[in-house]
Amino acid sequence: MTGYVRPRDLDEALATRAAHADWMVLSGGTDLMVNANHKPIPTGILDLWRLGELCFVKVEPASIAIGAGTTWTEVQGHPVIADRLSPLALAAREIGALQIQARGTLGGNVGNSSPVGDSLPALLALGAELELASVRGRRRIPYSDFCTGYRKTALAADELIVAAHIPVPAAGTKLAWRKVGTRRAQSISKVMGAAVITLDGDRVVSARIGLGAVADRPIRAAAVEAAVAGQKLSEAGDAARAAMRSSIKPIDDIRSTATYRREVAENLVARFFAV
C-alpha cells in the first residue's frame, strides 16, 4: 500500500517530510509522472499540489516572492512578473505547452534541477534566493549555491522548497531571455539563457548572465560578465561572443553536438547585448 498525505498546511507537510524521508514529494507531476506506469511504485506520496502556503505571488517594492507551488500558467499570467521579471515570465511561456504549464511548478523545476530546466538560468541572472523549510526551521540560500552538480541540490532530506525571492531590477535595467530548441513549443532546450544588464547611458556597467544546457548544471557566464563590464553596449556583443567561445564545455549528446551548442551559445549571449 502506497502511503498518501495531502497536508492541510506547511507544518503538516514538513512533519510528514521529516517522518517519511523515503516518500515522494509530488507537486504537478510533470517530471515525476512521466511514464509513471513503468516506474517503481513509491512507498508514499507527500502531495503538495495546490497547498495554499506554497501558491502565492507577493509583490514588494524591492522584491517579488513566488511560492514553490505556483504554476507556469500563473507565473506568465502575473502582470508584475511579466513587467519586472520578464526573463522568468518568458521562460514560463516556453516550458512545455499549455497542459504542462497548467501543472508544472516553480518548485518542481527547481527541485528537479535539470541542466535544461528553463527557469533556472533566469533565477541565476535575476539573483534569486530560495527559501527552504524543515521542522528544524527556515533558511534562505542564493539560487547560485543551490544546484551543486548534475541534478544535485543543497536540499536536505527533510526540507521543502517554499519560495523564490527575487530582487526587482532597477528601472532601466536591460532584461533578456532566449531559448533555442527544435521547435517553438514543447521542446527541450539546446541552449537557453537570461541576462540582467545594468547600463549607464550606452555603457554596460555590469551584467549577470545565466545559461542552461551548456554544462552539467545551470551556470553563470562569469567570463562573459567580466568581458562586457565597462564596454560600450554596441561593442559588448562581440566581447561576449569571444569570451563565450573560450569558456564553456557544452555537453555532447544524442540531441546535439558540443560544437553546435557552443556556436549557438555564442550567438545567444551576443544577442543579449543587441541595441
Binding site: 502506497t2 509522472m33 511514464n35
Partner: protein, 160 residues
C-alpha cells in the same frame, strides 16, 4: 485509497492506489474511454482532461491528487445532445481522421475557446495563437490545418 471527485457533473468514488494514473482510472475503473493514451509522457496531449478548470495531461496526474477536485473529460463537453461548438466544427471542417488525438484536441480547444483566449483578435493572429495554445496536442493525420480551421470557426461562433 478512496478517491472522490466530480466527473462531468456527477460525483464519483473509486478505490485505487493514489499513484495510479488518472488516465487509467478513467479508462479502466470508470470505463470513460473517450480519453486516449498516446505517449504516457506528457508530450502528445491525447489524454487531455480539465481539472479544476485547467487543461492537463491525465497521464501525468496521480489519482490521489484528484480527491475533491472537478474533472471534465471529452464525454462531458456536450450539453445533452448538443455538441460543444468545437466538436461540431471538428466534424464540419474535417478536423478528425483516425481520431486518436481528437478527444484531447476537443478538450484543449474547448478550454481555449471557453476562456476567450482567441477572442477579439483578427484571424491571422488567432491562427498563430491557436497553433501555440494547441502545441501540446500532436496529430499524425490531419496536418493541423483543418483543426485550426475548426477551432477558429468554433471560437467565432461563440464570440464573433
Amino acid at each position: 485509497m478512496k478517491v472522490a471527485f466530480e466527473l462531468n457533473g456527477q460525483p464519483v468514488t473509486v478505490e485505487a492506489s493514489p499513484w495510479k494514473r488518472l488516465l487509467d482510472v478513467l479508462r479502466e475503473d470508470l470505463r470513460a474511454t473517450g480519453t486516449k493514451e498516446g505517449c504516457g509522457e506528457g508530450e502528445c496531449g491525447a489524454c487531455t482532461v480539465m481539472m479544476d478548470g485547467e487543461a492537463v495531461n491525465s497521464c501525468l496526474v496521480a489519482v490521489g491528487q484528484c480527491d475533491g477536485r472537478t474533472l471534465v473529460t471529452v464525454e462531458g463537453l456536450a450539453t445533452g445532445d448538443v455538441l460543444h461548438a468545437v466538436q461540431r466544427e471538428l466534424v464540419a471542417c474535417g478536423g478528425a481522421q483516425c481520431g486518436i488525438c481528437t478527444p484531447g484536441i476537443a478538450v484543449c480547444a474547448a478550454h481555449v475557446i471557453d476562456r476567450g483566449l482567441v477572442a477579439g483578435v483578427d484571424d491571422a493572429t488567432a491562427r498563430v495563437r491557436v497553433r501555440e495554445l494547441l502545441a501540446g496536442n500532436i496529430c499524425r493525420c490531419t496536418g493541423y490545418q483543418l483543426i485550426v480551421d475548426a477551432v477558429i470557426a468554433a471560437a467565432r461562433s461563440v464570440q464573433p
